[in-house]
């Protein structure tokens, strides 16, 4: 299993490149142009990453984070989510940069290959910035009466977070 996942990326690169050649795509131009788009993406997220890292470092240094974790710990314990990851449940649906900033701090402090660090990574990888997506789609259609979209989306988020912790226990237990 480990060799297989380690090989995923080289194989994806090979297959995508090979398919591009087969379709006579100018793959080098695509690679470089796409990387340019990636650079613009990076410069676009950097300002919010700065703002959110500062806020998260402040929360941690002040002891507020420990307090929030201890408040949420009983509920998270019932769901099987480690207490260090509980603030992600609140932050991730609101902001992609906040989720990423917070998640990377958890991975750094608890160990990137530890149970907690892996759970944080899987929680991030298996979720989206729910409220941003909802705002974009309802904004585009001009609909104000959103019916069950928000509760159903939050059901998906919560079940994904519970499944993330469960999956790490199952695959790395």
């Amino acid at each position: 299993m480990n060799t297989l996942t380690a090989l995923t990326v080289p194989i994806v690169l090979l297959l995508v490149g090979g398919f591009g050649l087969y379709k006579k795509t100018d793959i080098y131009d695509a690679l470089v142009t796409g990387a340019g788009d990636g650079l613009r993406l990076l410069t676009r997220i950097l300002p919010s990453v700065v703002a959110l890292f500062v806020a998260i470092y402040m929360l941690r240094a002040s002891g507020a984070l420990d307090f929030i974790c201890s408040l949420l710990a009983p509920a998270a314990g019932l769901l099987g989510i480690p207490r260090e990851c509980t603030p992600l449940i609140l932050l991730r649906p609101l902001s992609g940069s906040a989720g990423l900033a917070f998640g990377s701090e958890i991975m750094k402090n608890c160990g990137v290959d530890s149970y907690v660090g892996r759970t944080a990574a899987v929680m991030l990888g298996a979720s989206e910035t729910t409220f941003y997506t909802i705002a974009v789609y309802f904004g585009a259609t001009g609909i104000k009466h959103t019916r069950h979209a928000v509760p159903a989306a939050l059901c998906a988020d919560l079940s994904g977070f519970i499944a993330a912790a469960l999956a790490v226990r199952l695959f790395f237990g």
Binding site: A64, A98, V112, G125, H145, A152, A153, D157, G160
Partner: protein, 195 residues
Amino acid sequence: MMGKIWVFMVLISVISAITNGRITELTSAISDGAAASIDFTLSIGGMILLWSGVMEIMRRSGLSEKLTKLLLPILRRLFPDAKHSEAVMGDIAANVSANLLGLGNAATPAGIRAAEGLHRLDRGRDASDGLCMLIVINTASLQLIPTTVAAVRASLGAANPYDILPAVWFASVVSQVCGICAAGLLSHFWKRGNV
């Protein structure tokens, strides 16, 4: 919205630093956090650029179009009200396939076109079941390779940054299935026309 959350985070930090007697720690955390954000962005930057390039190859070579055709039969079942509209189903399938491949820049425009199309077919003033389904599918993750998280793991020295893939797929499938079921069930509790 984010502005309020940011101020709220700063506010509770200040209050809790004062009550816990950690005011000097709070002050140094501000400069540490700002410095760490730059380190963080630089350390994941190379992988983000590489993946963006790979995704552009997927888009230009028609790989995402191929996936779109494969997805249509499954998606028709989820969107019974739109299954006879080629254009709307095409946009939905393009949105889902771009999400699967991690093509965020392509997924959002296709998704917006699909949302507008679903709304046009429906003509209601509130959200149709189809529009809610589209939104729920988009808010639960579909991405096959979570490149950003893998870049973070790589930058922190993970032994194998991609060993989380099976766990991510498992959690994503659970989240999608629960989201789709919740959308189906809850649509009966939020009736149409209450505008």
